[in-house]
């Protein structure tokens, strides 16, 4: 049998085949399925049609499904309130497991014991790739795919070919997962990995943290990739066992065939930033320091984790945010929120005058809690900066790490976090 990549092994196992090859279309079983109030709500009428057709609950396995309320959280318009009510009534009626305002779906999946190496995770959201940090094949789909998987427990997949990316060297204190993600975008561009699986191998000496890995996997989709998956290791094992999951790792074969291979020496990286209006428009922060900004957003499924909040508080120690700059902080889940309170960093940020909102998607995709007006500029720890992404088509969004966002809050300008770190 030939040597296989992680995704080839997972999809072979899930489709009951000895092996699969890139380009092949397979039917793979789903281990866990997630939908949220922003997209899964479209399925309800169709679901009821199928229920009527079968005269029974059509769901393949309710224990493998989670409905998350995170986009309209809480609803800021009557239309959204109506959509949410319909979805909430539906999940209660059909007795689905649901999370009501507990956090952003991808963070909740990362915290869920069911998400572990070798699993096939499907979500009705493009950033479902985030769960790949735990060694699962995790990918996003639209509402129809979600409904099909909900009923059949499987779906069609075209097996992607894989690019191997090895992180080597030592992570500097001023570099986080976001900088690695932006470096990958700088290398590939927005369409440099369309329909590929990005397989990450952490060979750094001080290890990339799980929070940073989640950020890297999260932004894989911005290169056009189908999956952004980490080869499991002791960091994966620790995370999975701590949350009560079972660590049954699937590893990429040595000498598997990859379409391309890359090595990124993290020791050489400088803090990076994506300029408007593309996540791939990446420059060094040092090249664009001094651009004045109106808002900082520290949050989202990309950059709202405990590591991000601790980093922000660390940068701000002994400093104050610039008066008049809007700073919005949104922990990505209730668990993160509580951990940050316990750790003390959230209290520090509150004392510095930052605005903390409830765990939710917020301004990231133009929903609520801090949209930008015409000509406003923001530094954000989120994942996309297309025109109009966070508000007015005349606004500008710069994507960066929480260290860079925090440093920029002090000066009111894009600022290199190295200035505040030894």
């Amino acid at each position: 049998m030939s040597k296989k990549t992680l995704v080839e092994k997972i999809l072979a196992s899930a489709s009951g085949k000895k092996e699969v090859s890139p380009g092949e279309i397979v039917t793979a079983k789903i281990d866990f399925l997630m939908g949220h109030d922003g997209t899964a709500s479209l399925c309800i009428d169709k679901y009821d049609e199928f229920k009527k057709l079968l005269n029974a609950s059509p769901v393949f396995d309710k224990s493998k499904v989670l409905a998350v309320f995170d986009h309209f959280c809480p609803p800021a318009t009557v239309e959204r309130a109506d959509i949410q009510k319909k979805f909430l009534d539906f999940v209660k009626r059909e007795q689905f497991d649901y999370s009501l305002y507990e956090g952003i779906c991808h963070q909740l999946l990362a915290e869920h014991p069911a998400v572990s190496p070798g699993k096939v995770i499907l979500g009705a959201d493009s950033h479902t790739v985030t769960a790949g940090a735990l060694g699962a094949f995790a990918t996003g789909v639209g509402s129809s795919d979600f409904l099909y998987a909900l009923i059949k427990g499987n779906n069609w997949f075209k097996v992607p070919s894989t690019y191997k990316i090895r992180f080597v060297g030592e992570m500097p204190v001023y570099i986080q997962g976001k900088d690695l993600a932006l470096e990958i975008l700088r290398l590939f561009g927005e369409s440099g990995a369309v329909y590929k699986a990005l397989e990450y191998h952490d060979e750094t000496t001080n290890k990339v943290s799980m929070d940073s890995r989640l950020t890297i996997s999260n932004m894989s989709v911005e290169t056009g990739a189908k999956a952004g998956i980490f080869n499991p290791d002791e960091i994966t094992q620790k995370c999975v066992t701590e949350k009560g999951g079972k660590f049954r790792p699937v590893y990429a074969d040595e000498d598997a065939h990859y379409e391309k291979e890359y090595i990124i020496d993290v020791s050489c990286l400088e803090p990076l930033i994506a300029l408007p209006h593309s996540p791939a428009n990446v420059k060094k922060v040092s090249e664009v320091e001094g651009i004045q900004i109106d808002q900082i957003y520290l949050g989202s499924c990309t950059g709202g984790r405990l590591e991000d909040l601790i980093s922000a508080a660390k940068i701000l120690k002994g400093h104050q945010p610039k008066r008049g700059i809007k700073i919005i902080v949104i922990p990505s889940s209730r668990k993160v929120y509580l951990s940050a309170l316990q750790e003390g960093c959230l209290t520090d940020l509150i004392k510095k005058g930052m605005t903390i909102s409830n765990p939710s998607c917020g301004p990231c995709c133009n929903i609520d809690k801090g949209l930008l007006g015409d000509k406003e500029k923001a530094v954000s720890t989120s994942n996309r900066n297309f025109p109009g992404r966070m508000g007015s088509y005349g606004s500008e969004v710069y994507l960066a790490s929480s260290l860079t966002a925090a440093a920029s809050s002090i000066t009111g300008e894009i600022t290199n976090p190295k200035r505040y770190l030894r």
């Binding site: 279309i25 709500s41 493009s126 795919d145 369409s191 133009n366 297309f386």
Partner: protein, 172 residues
């Protein structure tokens, strides 16, 4: 699903995101609102100019960004049946097929056309004719993968599901 599609094309560039094709503010369960939002990120008046049977041609990574299926629903409600692109963003590609919109990936298609050219696409012969410029393309491989053709011919993924469930019911 027909063998041949013909119509006026609307040409777009590379990396056209779902936020431009159908801005998030037009997300709705109301069909008319969804229909109205098409291409509002480009040009607020473009949707009024589109006729039934028109064809979309995009560059690379067409439809990148969000998984919002309303984006594709809006295309469908505006009676566009087929989209060609040099390459598609993968969720958008899936959403098209699943919603009974024929997505044809053909590297080089965007340089074969100019905006508002008339195109004829023969899915049986795997041939594309630019009727305005009198030029022709013949594809070596099938323009639509047979596995996916099955989904399209059944009217989309959920129509296929319905048939599978009915067949399952009859077998019991």
């Amino acid at each position: 699903m027909k063998d041949c599609y013909q119509g006026k094309i609307w040409k777009f560039g590379n990396n056209v995101s779902t936020d431009l094709i159908h801005p998030a503010v037009y997300f709705s369960l109301d069909r008319e609102r969804v229909k109205k939002g098409l291409f509002k990120g480009f040009d607020s008046e473009l949707v009024e100019k589109i006729s039934a049977g028109d064809i979309i041609v995009g560059g690379t990574n067409f439809g990148c960004g969000s998984s919002r299926e309303v984006v594709v629903q809006s295309i469908h409600y505006n009676n566009i049946e087929i989209i060609l692109a040099d390459s598609f963003a993968r969720i958008f590609y899936r959403n098209c097929i699943n919603n009974h919109i024929i997505a044809v990936e053909y590297s080089g298609i965007s340089s074969f056309v100019e905006n508002n050219d008339y195109l004829s696409i023969n899915l049986k012969e795997n041939q594309i004719n630019n009727l305005t410029k009198n030029t022709e393309l013949v594809s070596e491989k099938q323009l639509v993968d047979p596995y996916l053709r099955d989904i399209l011919e059944k009217g989309g993924l959920l129509a296929k599901l319905k048939q599978e469930l009915l067949d399952g019911k009859r077998l019991r």
